[in-house]
């Protein structure tokens, strides 16, 4: 009986301790980042994995890709389509379906020339599923500082420095 009373008094004290802790947090500063108005530590974004992008070669600004198909074979989600160009090793088509990508870096690590990397496009939104079927060659062209005067198709696709590459239509092979 006495023990039960003492136990319960101790229990009541533990409740007061709990109240004091939450009370202390009540007056301490908040941890929330008010997202659109504040941005979290930008250091965190350095390792962020956005959709893939092609790495421009230092000298030419063209893609380093040699159409070896290693990335296509490594990809667990079958989200890459690379077609070899008519002349040389440069790819004619480099399609990337971001909806299927699991950002596992299998392609990036298996690329023998280091031609692809993850972008840091954090604020990526798309109005439709198709808009996430990206054409990485067009994206590379759009990012180039001095876009080389293009062929007709690239002109139609270039949309300046947009977050999203233009939607790809009708080119996806079966």
């Amino acid at each position: 009986m006495i023990k039960a009373i003492i136990d319960n008094l101790k229990g009541l004290y533990s409740l007061l301790v709990g109240l004091s802790i939450t009370g202390r947090f009540f007056v301490s500063p908040q941890k929330t980042t008010h997202y659109p108005r504040q941005v979290d530590d930008p250091e965190c974004l350095k390792s962020y994995r956005g959709p893939l992008e092609l790495v421009p070669a230092d000298d030419t600004g063209q893609s380093k890709c040699i159409s070896c198909q290693m990335c296509v074979r490594a990809c667990p989600g079958h989200c890459l389509t690379v077609t070899k160009g008519d002349k040389g090793k440069a790819p004619k088509v480099y399609l990337y379906d971001f909806t299927l990508c699991c950002l596992c870096a299998a392609c990036v690590e298996s690329c023998p020339t280091g031609a692809i990397r993850f972008s840091h496009k954090v604020y990526l939104v798309a109005p439709s599923r198709e808009a996430l079927h990206l054409d990485l060659l067009a994206d590379l062209l759009a990012r180039a500082p001095n876009p080389p005067q293009p062929k007709a198709e690239a002109e139609a696709e270039g949309e300046g420095n947009q977050v999203l590459a233009a939607p790809v239509t009708g080119e996806a092979p079966a």
Binding site: L15, T22, F26, T32
Partner: protein, 324 residues
């Protein structure tokens, strides 16, 4: 008291004011509760709608008003719609004898506290009806819990208030306030600390607030007796929950905290300040503690609060006799 036309008009006006108070209180309390929860959890709480999220609660209530009245299959529709109304209406009556200020009383009755205690028991019926009528097993379990809990916690509540009534020698709430002084050490909480504690615990139990929120225990019964309610039905339950909280806080302020008397300038603002302080304490409890289990809830009541309150009553009676 005779029922004259003047009295009648006074009561009607008072009822309208009380309804306004209940609705306003719900809006304010929703805001306070969400902000307090946010600050305790180190986040801002409602923030985007209006300056510092002040009109968030109003927007939410607008949304609830605008929702379709949804009737689940196989419900007893009469009881299903009656229950929220039943939850709301008795609370209205309970505010009538509360002395907000010296002259600001809707209904000066000599046994005001009896009126409150008698009608406070009605609230649980709405919970039973809601749980029973909505044809939901969670609802039924919640209703069963509500009954046992409400019946149990009323008893120590009455016993605790009775000790104060012994001291004041009157059941009239205004009289009880008048017997207390203006300074905090002249309030009943100093003379009756145990009664105040018991009353406070049973107040939390009576209003189904965490850590005694068993009838709606979210992690066990999803939402308890109001699982099947949405839109206005849910809003009415919500409203009555906060109105009940306000009521018991007013009673607490009246009985233990000196009512409308304060160190400077007596008046109804003191009642409100004290009542809202009690409510903030209830909110604070909710966001700090886990929930007790049902058998523990009843054990706390029957094994601790009830004997303690009887003891307290007994000691009070003896001491009063000796003082005489």
């Amino acid at each position: 008291m005779e029922l004259t036309i003047a009295n009648f008009v006074q009561i009607v006006i008072a009822c309208l004011l009380i309804i306004a108070l209940m609705v306003g209180n719900a809006v304010i309390m929703v805001y306070i509760e969400r902000k307090a929860a946010g600050f305790i959890q180190r986040r801002p709480g409602p923030y985007e709608v209006g300056p510092r999220g002040t009109i968030q609660a109003i927007c939410d209530s607008m949304k609830l008003l605008g929702k379709q009245l949804f009737i689940p299959g196989n419900v007893d529709w009469l009881l299903y719609f009656l229950a929220p109304v039943m939850a709301f209406l008795p609370v209205l009556l309970l505010f009538l004898p509360i002395p907000f200020g010296k002259y600001l009383v809707a209904l000066k009755v000599d046994d005001g506290i009896l009126l409150i205690l008698a009608f406070a028991g009605l609230g649980v019926i709405s919970n039973i009806l809601a749980g029973w009528a909505s044809n939901n097993k969670y609802g039924l379990l919640g209703a069963a819990r509500a009954v046992a809990q409400s019946v149990a916690y009323e008893i120590p509540m009455i016993m605790a208030l009775l000790a104060v009534v012994f001291m004041a020698g009157s059941l009239n709430l205004s009289e009880i306030v008048e017997r207390q002084g203006t300074w905090p050490w002249q309030w009943n909480i100093v003379f009756q600390p145990l009664a105040c504690f018991i009353y406070f615990v049973s107040l939390v139990g009576e209003t189904n607030r965490a850590p005694f929120d068993l009838p709606e225990a979210e992690s066990e019964l999803t939402a308890g007796f109001h699982t099947e309610y949405s839109g206005m039905g849910f809003a009415l339950f919500f409203l009555s929950e906060y109105a009940n909280m306000l009521l018991v806080s007013f009673v607490c302020a009246t009985f233990f905290l000196g009512g409308y008397k304060g160190p400077i300038l007596d008046g109804f603002w003191w009642t409100f300040i004290k009542a809202y302080a009690v409510m903030c304490l209830i909110v604070w409890l909710r966001w700090t503690f886990p929930r007790v289990r049902f058998d523990q809830l009843l054990n706390i009541n029957w094994k601790w609060l009830l004997p303690l309150s009887i003891l307290n009553l007994w000691v009070t009676a003896i001491v009063l006799k000796f003082i005489e």
